[in-house]
């Protein structure tokens, strides 16, 4: 009985860390995998999703709809940002990082000015259950399921839809795809909006579990960076396995020494991984296959 309790606790911790890493990173990874661009305003898209979700829930929307609204608003903002700024910088990926950092400054401080330093949150729904004297939040299990669902959804999107085919063609050889009639510009915009929308979804999903402050994006961004760096350019061969490995590191370090050491463990893991696998796990796997 005791062994089961301990095993479940470890599994729960792992699932929690895994969900956090996958959900933090997927929006960033989709954009990076498509365009080789890191969106430093990623955390602010998460913040946007969270704020919209909480406003929606406070206005009486049921939580799932509010989360969906948050994701859609983030995607719309993402499309706008792509149109105004990112589109002009596709030739210069390093400049995109700098420009999106500028956007991140504007978004964080703008939110602080307009909405104040904090916003009333909503409680974590669905209550908790008990196993062996410890109580666990049901909502955390929902988050884990959602992380899996997001991965499955992305897999279906990229493999079974027309958009997915065009997107994968654009990733492989952009000018060839363009020559075959793919409108690569709109593929890029849609992908950027998709990444922003996924960030918004993450914000919406985590909104009930945390306090809403304009700088909440930084809570996610470090984990997102680390997962994308370890994973490399491919969402399925990179982000997912990277999240598994990093979640083990993180949950082990967290239960040993606390939250901060979980993050320090992640950081050390990433520094060692880039020394060994500079192109991330997906680079390693793809080289093995060819």
């Amino acid at each position: 009985m005791d062994a089961i309790t301990v095993a479940f606790a470890a599994l729960y911790q792992f699932g929690d860390a895994f969900a956090f890493l996958v959900l933090s990173a997927c929006g960033l990874a989709v954009i990076f995998g498509m365009m080789g661009v890191i969106n430093l305003a990623h955390g602010e898209f998460i913040m946007c999703g969270a704020y919209v979700t909480v406003s929606g829930a406070n206005a009486g929307l049921p939580l799932p709809l509010a989360i969906l609204l948050g994701a859609l608003v983030s995607a719309a903002v993402g499309a706008l940002v792509e149109r105004l700024v990112v589109r002009h910088l596709y030739e210069r990926p390093l400049d995109t990082i700098v420009a999106t950092w500028g956007l991140s400054l504007i978004a964080t401080q703008g939110t602080l000015i307009v909405l104040g330093s904090t916003m009333g949150g909503i409680g974590t729904p669905l209550g908790s259950f008990q196993i062996g004297g410890y109580s666990y939040s049901v909502y955390r299990l929902v988050l884990f399921v959602m992380a899996i669902a997001v991965l499955a959804g992305l897999y279906a999107l990229f493999n079974w839809t027309r958009f997915g085919v065009m997107a994968r063609a654009t990733i492989q050889v952009p000018h060839m795809a363009a020559a075959l009639g793919v409108d690569t510009r709109s593929v890029y915009s849609l992908t950027f909006a998709l990444g922003a929308g996924l960030a918004g979804l993450t914000g919406g999903l985590y909104a009930p579990t945390m306090t809403l402050v304009p700088t909440m994006g930084t809570t996610f961004i470090m984990e997102a960076f680390v997962t994308v760096v370890v994973g490399g350019a491919d969402v399925f061969l990179g982000t997912a396995p990277a999240a598994v490995i990093l979640a083990i590191v993180k949950s082990a370090m967290t239960s040993w020494q606390g939250q901060l050491f979980g993050q320090i463990g992640l950081l050390l893991a990433v520094i060692v991984v880039i020394r060994v696998l500079p192109k991330g796990i997906s680079g390693f796997l793809l080289r093995e296959r060819t």
Partner: protein, 353 residues
């Protein structure tokens, strides 16, 4: 005379704008103005000016790494913080007697250099690409900030120095120069101004020599095309690591000077916002030239200071817009774009005549 002209020749080269007697006479006039400035001002204002100067070292270091070397390092403030905290811990433990603060500066810079060497080894010898370099260095900075922010408890102390978590360390002694007949304590006033100004001139001229040397030329070659530089037989990892460590030491110098200037250092000096500001200064002025970076940093900082009076949040929004617009409209930086324009106008005029 010959030695002097040889010295000037090493200050000029393809990697820096500004050459010839006109530029250097202008430089001397500006320097003379900077030297005589305290005579026309009061101690408080001069002390505030020192605050601007302390940041320029970090900006020049970032210009070397990013502008000349082409490696995107977002972690400059990590070394700023490491050196600043090291200075605080050392001086709080050993005091300021016998000129120890100066030794503390050197030790703090060595610690920053070692940290940069260790991190840089993994980054550059792992050959990670430009985009990843930026986000890994930024992650290091963010984790360091969070680590320092949670050191509030009494168990987080090094010797006599409490780290004090989010509130940061304070009350460390300012820089003190041992002097017969009474130590000179460098409070933010005229004396500190001259010391920092002297350091700034030294670092500026030293970096000019560095970037126009063969090291600097190789660094620029790496920025333009890493594969080509490698094919020409240069071990690019060593050059990048070298530039990274020098940049980190300069950021550390900023950190030490800042800590001794205000006698405090907090974790937020390493946070996301703090890390963005050096990027703004360097990008807006013109990252690929030392002079443009120097001028740009001072101009943007004074603009930021002026806006902060109306509210720091607004000032940061303006910084964000400045950064986005610079990247979109003048990717090489506003000062360099203006210099290009002037140069073209001058040339076409001469062509007409």
């Amino acid at each position: 005379m010959n030695a002097l002209s040889r010295f000037f020749a090493r200050l000029e080269g393809p990697q820096t704008i500004g050459r010839g007697p006109v530029f250097w006479i202008g430089f001397l006039i500006v320097l003379a103005g900077a030297c005589s400035y305290p005579m026309f001002s009061d101690g408080y204002t001069v002390g505030n000016t020192v605050y601007f100067f302390t940041w320029v070292f970090m900006a020049l270091g970032l210009s070397l790494i990013w502008g000349y070397g082409g490696s995107l390092s977002f972690g400059q403030t990590a070394f700023f913080g490491i050196a600043g905290y090291s200075y605080g811990v050392l001086t709080l433990n050993f005091g300021a007697a016998y000129g120890f603060t100066l030794a503390a500066v050197v030790i703090a810079l060595v610690i920053a250099a070692l940290a940069a060497l260790l991190l840089g080894y993994f980054l550059f010898f792992g050959r990670i690409s430009g985009v990843f370099l930026g986000i890994v260095t930024l992650s290091v900075t963010l984790v360091l900030e969070r680590f320092m922010a949670q050191t509030a408890g009494p168990e987080w102390a090094i010797g006599k120095a409490r780290l004090n978590g989010f509130n940061g360390m304070s009350n460390m002694p300012p820089l003190t120069i041992p002097w017969p007949g009474g130590d000179i304590i460098l409070f933010p006033d005229v004396q500190l101004y001259y010391v920092v100004l002297g350091l700034l001139v030294l670092v500026y001229l030293g970096l000019r020599i560095l970037v126009n040397s063969s090291f600097g030329n190789v660094l620029v070659a790496i920025r333009e095309n890493p594969e080509r530089a490698e094919m020409l037989g240069y071990d690019i990892r060593k050059y990048q690591l070298g530039a990274f460590v020098i940049g980190a030491v300069l950021a550390g110098l900023s950190g030490v000077l800042y800590t001794s200037w205000g006698q405090y250092i907090t974790p937020s000096s390493m946070g996301m916002t703090a890390a963005a500001l050096p990027i703004v200064w360097v990008a807006v002025g013109g990252r690929s030239d030392l002079t443009a970076t120097l001028i740009g940093t001072l101009v943007v900082l004074s603009g930021f200071q002026a806006l902060t009076i109306h509210g720091a949040q607004y000032a940061l929004v303006v910084m964000g817009f400045l950064l986005v617009l610079t990247v979109l409209l003048a990717p090489r930086g506003i000062i360099l774009a203006a210099a290009d324009l002037l140069g073209r106008l001058g040339k076409s005029k001469r062509g007409d005549a």
